[in-house]
C-alpha cells in the first residue's frame, strides 16, 4: 500500500513538471520498461526465496539473448526453436550455478560473480561485441508493438508473473524453496532437501533471466551482448522494494510488479524532467535503501525506543 502511495505521488509530481508525462505514448514507454524490469526482478526473487542471491542475472540474460540471436541471424533457425534454445541455455546456466552453490560449499557470491562474468564475457566473444540485428519482424513487433498504451510484451510479463506467483503459493516445489529460505534446518529435518531447493531456485532464476534477455532483445530489435550490464542493481531493487525478504522465506510477486512500475515511472519522469541519467542510478540506490529501512521492523522499534528514551529525559530537564 505505501508503494502505491509512492507511485501516485511520483506521478502527480511528474505530471506537474512535464506536460509529456501523462500521454498515451509515455505511459506505453513506462509500462514497456516496467515489463522488462519485472522479469529481471523475478529472476532475483527466485534466488532470494531460498535465502541466496545471484550476481549472474544480467550475464545469463544477455548470454541467452545472444544465443537466440546467433541461431536466428547466423544459422537461420526458425523463431520458435531458437527461442526455446535460448530459454534452455538460461535454465541450464542457472542449474550450473545452483549445483555449484549447493554442492561445492563456495559462497553464492563468488560462484555467481564468476559465472556471471563468464557469461557476459562469452556473449561479447560470440558476437565479437557487435549486436546481431535483422531479427524477424514478428519478434520485433512483440517488443515494441502496442495496443493504445499497452505494450504487447507486458502480456508475456503478466503470464510469467502469474506462473511464478502460483508456483510460490501452491506448488510443492515453490513451498520447498520458501521453507528452506525460512528455516533451512527445519526444512531438512522435515525431509525437504536444501540442495534441491537451491538448485531449483537458481534454475528458475536462469530461466527468468533468459526470458528477460529475450524481452530486452525484442525491445531493442537486436541481440546486444551488453544488454544486461545495468541489471544488477535493478534485479535487487525491485524485489526488495516490493517486499521480498532478503533473508529468504517470503516473496511477493505482486510487489515486484508494483516496484517495477515505480522504478520505471521514476526513471521516465527524471528523464523527462531533463535530469542527468547518471542521477537516475543514484535514485535507484536510494530507493533500495529506503525500502530496506521501511521493511525492517527492527528499525521501527529502535525509533520507538529512541522516542521513549527522549520522553524519559524531557521531564528531568524541566524545572
Amino acid at each position: 500500500m505505501p508503494l502505491l502511495g509512492v507511485m501516485l505521488l511520483a506521478s502527480v509530481v511528474f505530471t506537474l513538471i512535464s506536460s509529456e508525462f501523462l500521454t498515451t505514448f509515455n505511459i506505453y514507454v513506462i509500462l514497456s520498461s516496467a515489463a522488462l524490469l519485472a522479469v529481471i526482478g523475478l529472476s532475483q526473487l527466485s534466488v532470494l526465496s531460498v535465502g541466496e542471491f545471484s550476481l549472474a542475472v544480467g550475464g545469463i540474460g544477455e548470454f541467452s539473448a545472444v544465443i537466440v540471436g546467433y541461431l536466428l541471424v547466423r544459422r537461420g533457425v526458425p523463431l520458435a526453436p531458437a527461442l526455446l534454445a535460448g530459454l534452455a541455455v538460461g535454465t541450464a546456466a542457472g542449474f550450473v550455478n545452483g549445483v555449484l552453490v549447493a554442492k561445492s560449499g563456495v559462497s553464492g557470491f563468488i560462484v555467481t560473480l564468476a559465472t556471471g562474468g563468464a557469461f557476459a564475457g562469452a556473449s561479447l566473444a560470440i558476437t565479437e561485441t557487435s549486436p546481431y540485428t535483422g531479427l524477424p519482424h514478428v519478434f520485433n513487433s512483440f517488443g515494441t508493438g502496442r495496443l493504445s498504451f499497452l505494450p504487447y510484451c507486458l502480456g508475456a510479463t503478466l503470464v510469467v508473473a502469474v506462473v511464478v506467483a502460483v508456483l510460490y503459493r501452491s506448488r510443492p516445489a515453490g513451498r520447498r524453496m520458501l521453507a528452506v529460505g525460512g528455516n533451512a534446518e527445519a526444512a531438512e529435518l522435515s525431509g525437504l532437501s536444501k540442495t534441491r531447493a537451491i538448485i531449483w531456485a537458481h534454475s528458475l532464476s536462469g530461466l527468468l533471466a533468459s526470458i528477460a534477455g529475450v524481452i530486452a532483445m525484442a525491445q531493442l530489435h537486436e541481440a546486444n551482448p551488453s544488454a544486461g550490464t545495468d541489471w544488477l542493481i535493478q534485479s535487487f531493487a525491485i524485489p526488495i522494494i516490493g517486499g521480498t525478504a532478503l533473508a529468504g522465506g517470503s516473496v511477493s510477486v505482486g510487489g515486484v510488479l508494483v516496484a517495477a512500475v515505480i522504478l520505471a515511472t521514476i526513471n521516465d519522469g527524471l528523464i523527462l524532467s531533463d535530469v542527468d541519467p547518471f542521477w537516475v542510478t543514484l535514485v535507484e540506490g536510494l530507493l533500495i535503501f529506503v525500502a530496506v529501512l521501511l521493511g525492517r521492523a527492527q528499525a521501527w522499534r529502535l525509533y520507538g525506543r529512541a522516542l521513549a528514551r527522549l520522553g524519559r529525559l524531557l521531564p528531568r530537564t524541566a524545572p
Binding site: 513451498r175 522435515s190 525431509g191
Partner: protein, 512 residues
C-alpha cells in the same frame, strides 16, 4: 520380542570430538522408553543417528530386526519414524497448518490445498491442547506453542515410532499432562516411544523403561522403571571418574564489610523464585544443579541479559540495577565467563590479544580513542603468560587453539578486565584433566587475590573441590546450602539427597 528400533554400538565424532562411543538403545512397541543423561551425553546425537540426520561412523541400526541405513530425515519418516528434535524447527513465515504438514502437504493435482490443511491441522492442534488459529504464521508463537506444534507434527505422521527430544523443556505442567495422556494412548495402540527429559519425576511418571547415557556410552540399557530409584538414575548420569587433587585450604576470607554480590529473594522473568545468595570477597561459591535447574539462567539475570522482576541485587551492600553485560562490567565490575565459549565468549577468527583485550578496550584506548596493538598487548601479555596458554604468538587466531586453551583465553579476558565479581559457568567442559587442574589453580589464585567467584558447574567433584560454600539449585530455586568441606564422599551424598528431595515446582494451573 524383537525391538522395533535398535541401535548397537554406535560411534559418532564431530571434528574430532567424540559424541558417541559405543552407545546402544532398543525400543519395543507398546512401550515408552526414557533416554536420560547430562548435557553432552550424546542423547540428541543418538536420536539424529536413528533418523538418518547424522550418519554414524560405526555401529548398526536395526528396524524390525533388519539393518537399515537412513540417508536423511525423509527416508526415516517414510519408514515410520517421526521425531521432535531439540532445536525449534518451524518455518516462521509459514502458517501453523503448513508447518504441521511441512513434509507432506495436502495436494490436489499437484497444488496445495490450504483449506484442507487448516481443517486437518485443527484436529491435531486440538489433540495436543493448543488453541491457536492454524492460519496464523508460526513467527509469533511462543516457545511452548512452537513446541506443541512440533509435537502435533510428529503425532500427525501417525508413525509407529516416535522420538521426542526434550518435548517438555518449555511447556507447562498442564500441557505436559495432555501430552502424557496422548503418549500413553499411542503406547496402548502399540507405538514405540522414546522420551528424552531432564525432569526425572516426569520420566518416572511416564516411562516403562529407562536408558542412561553418559559421555556417549550407554550406562543403563533399558532397565525396567520399577527396578530403579531416582537416586540410582542420577548416580548413573553424573557418576564421573573422580580424579581430582586435594582441595586447597580454605582461602582467606575478607569477612569485614558487606558481600561483594548479594541476591535477596530474587524473582526472574525465567521463573526463578526467592533466590538468595551472597558471594564474599575472596571466596568461591559453587552453584550445583542438574541441567535445566536454572543456573545459567540465573547468571544471565545477574549480568542483565534476563530480567530480574522482584527482589534485590546488591553490589557491595548497595542495591543496584544491572542493565546489560556492558553495564555489569563497566559500572559494577561483574564479569561473566559463559558456558558456551564458541558462541558467547570468544571471537574465534580474531587474535588472542584481541579477544583478551576486548573487555578493556575502553581503558586501553588512547586520548584520541585509538586502540593500538601495542597498548593492547602490553596489558594482555602478562595475563596470558600467567595463565600458561599454549600459543605461538598473541596474534594467533583463537580458533587455532585447543579447546582447553580457548577456555583459558575466555577466562583470561576477564582477568584482564580486573573485575571484583566473576561468574564462571562450566569452566572445564570439554577440557582435559591437566587443563582442568590448571583452571582450578587459576580460580583459587583469583579468589586469593580478593575476587568473589560464583562457580556454576554440573561437575559435582569440581564444585566440591573448589567451593567454600556449595549451593544446590533445583527447579529454579536454591534448595540446599552446605559448607565446603572438600569431602566428596559426604558432601556428594548430601547434595544428591537435596536434589532428589526437592519438590518439583508445578506451574500454577489456570482454569480456562
Amino acid at each position: 520380542m524383537t525391538p522395533v528400533v535398535e541401535a548397537r554400538d554406535v560411534w559418532k565424532a564431530f571434528d574430532g570430538t567424540v559424541a558417541l562411543h559405543g552407545a546402544g538403545l532398543a525400543l519395543e512397541s507398546g512401550s515408552i522408553h526414557a533416554l536420560v543423561g547430562e548435557n553432552g551425553a550424546g542423547k540428541s546425537t543418538l536420536i539424529k543417528s536413528l533418523t538418518g540426520v547424522h550418519a554414524p561412523d560405526r555401529g548398526e541400526l536395526l528396524f524390525d530386526g533388519e539393518q537399515r541405513d537412513f540417508t536423511g530425515a525423509q527416508a526415516s519418516m517414510a519408514a515410520g519414524v517421526s521425531a521432535v528434535y531439540q532445536e525449534r524447527n518451524l518455518v516462521p513465515q509459514f502458517s501453523v497448518a503448513e508447518n504441521l504438514f511441512l513434509n507432506r502437504p495436502s495436494l490436489r493435482a499437484g497444488f496445495l490445498q490450504y483449506e484442507r490443511m487448516y481443517r486437518e491441522a485443527e484436529v491435531w492442534l486440538e489433540r495436543v491442547g493448543l488453541r491457536v488459529d492454524p492460519r496464523r504464521t508460526a513467527a509469533g508463537l511462543s516457545t511452548a506453542q512452537g513446541q506443541l506444534v512440533e509435537i502435533a507434527r510428529a503425532l500427525a505422521l501417525e508413525s509407529k515410532v516416535v522420538l521426542l527430544d526434550e518435548p517438555t523443556a518449555s511447556i507447562t505442567a498442564r500441557e505436559a499432562a495432555v501430552l502424557f495422556e496422548l503418549l500413553r494412548e499411542l503406547r496402548d495402540r502399540g507405538g514405540a516411544i522414546l522420551f528424552v527429559s531432564h525432569k526425572l519425576d516426569e520420566v518416572f511418571e511416564l516411562c516403562d523403561r529407562i536408558t542412561v547415557l553418559r559421555d556417549g556410552q550407554t550406562i543403563l540399557a533399558g532397565v525396567d522403571r520399577g527396578k530403579l530409584t531416582q537416586g540410582e538414575v542420577i548416580t548413573a548420569m553424573v557418576g564421573r571418574d573422580v580424579t581430582f587433587s586435594e582441595r586447597a585450604a580454605p582461602t582467606l576470607r575478607h569477612d569485614d564489610g558487606p558481600a561483594l554480590l548479594e541476591l535477596r529473594d530474587v524473582v526472574t522473568s525465567l521463573g526463578h523464585e526467592g533466590v538468595s545468595l551472597s558471594v564474599e570477597a575472596g571466596s568461591v561459591v559453587g552453584l550445583y544443579g542438574l541441567v535445566g535447574a536454572g543456573r545459567t539462567e540465573l547468571a544471565r539475570a545477574i549480568v542483565g541479559v534476563e530480567k530480574i522482576e522482584d527482589g534485590q541485587l546488591l553490589r557491595a551492600g548497595r542495591p543496584v540495577r544491572v542493565r546489560d553485560p556492558h553495564d555489569a562490567l563497566q559500572a559494577h565490575r561483574i564479569g561473566y565467563v559463559s558456558e558456551d565459549r564458541k558462541t558467547d565468549g570468544l571471537i574465534l577468527s580474531h587474535s588472542v590479544s584481541h579477544n583478551v583485550g576486548i573487555t578493556i578496550w575502553d581503558r586501553v584506548k588512547s586520548l584520541l580513542g585509538f586502540i593500538t596493538p601495542a597498548r593492547e598487548r602490553s596489558r594482555v601479555a602478562p595475563i596470558v603468560e600467567q595463565m600458561d596458554v599454549k600459543l605461538s604468538s598473541l596474534d594467533q587466531q583463537v580458533s587455532q587453539l585447543s579447546g582447553g586453551n580457548q577456555q583459558k583465553v575466555s577466562v583470561a579476558k576477564w582477568l584482564a578486565s580486573d573485575v571484583d565479581v566473576l561468574i564462571i559457568d562450566e569452566p572445564t567442559i570439554g577440557v582435559d584433566v591437566r587443563t582442568k587442574e590448571e583452571m582450578y589453580l587459576l580460580i583459587e589464585e583469583l579468589a586469593r587475590g580478593g575476587t568473589g567467584i560464583l562457580l556454576i558447574s554440573s561437575d559435582l567433584a569440581e564444585v566440591i573441590r573448589l567451593s567454600d560454600r556449595v549451593l544446590v539449585m533445583a527447579n529454579k530455586r536454591i534448595v540446599a546450602e552446605f559448607e565446603g568441606s572438600g569431602d566428596y564422599a559426604v558432601l556428594s551424598e548430601h547434595v544428591m539427597e537435596a536434589i532428589i528431595e526437592a519438590e518439583p515446582v508445578r506451574e500454577t494451573i489456570v482454569p480456562n
